[in-house]
Symmetry: C2
Subunit: 107 residues, 2 copies
């Protein structure tokens, strides 16, 4: 049976901003409250994850993360800024709509 | 302003069947009533267009086109089979839904 499949991303007039990979990374950083935790969950290096975040921040001109140094053992971490949270929310909202279309059966 | 963009295609459990390029080719063949007319409209060779059609037919196991030799000058041509017409219809229906999502403004 034929069914639709898709790739989608967010862009501005200037071009590509944010796709599946970055979405997953931000989501994992949010879950683990650290860049290294998010990177590890996706099997990528801290350096690579950091580079992705910096690239998106450059494109949108705003920070996605707020990082802090903790006082506990192994402390420190990262949390999403409102901009970062909004990106995740926007991405997920569209993703749900796309997925819903793909679940409908062709007639 | 952020907005979504997408790529989409039709697939079966076995994999990719049909995307934007083939859709446009089939649509142009339908309009021009010939493979060469459709190919020309998209700036591709007859041979390339023919190869694309044959590849899809192999994947779905059914002919997309019915070709005929005409009696008129420059006669002959091609028309879409019901399968070909259904593919176009299915593709367009999903495309419209995807486009509609992409016209909504992120909140």
């Amino acid at each position: 049976m034929l069914k639709p499949a898709y790739k989608f991303w967010l862009e501005t007039k200037e071009g590509y901003i944010f796709g599946k990979g970055t979405f997953e990374l931000l989501q994992k950083i949010q879950e683990t409250k650290s860049i290294s935790g998010g990177a590890k969950a996706l099997g990528m290096s801290y350096r690579h994850a950091w580079g992705i975040i910096k690239e998106i921040e450059k494109r949108i001109g705003e920070p996605l993360l707020r990082t802090y140094k903790g006082g506990k053992i192994g402390g420190g971490g990262a949390e999403l800024t409102q901009t970062g949270k909004n990106l995740i929310k926007t991405y997920l909202r569209y993703k749900n709509e796309f997925d819903q279309i793909c679940r409908t059966v062709p007639t």
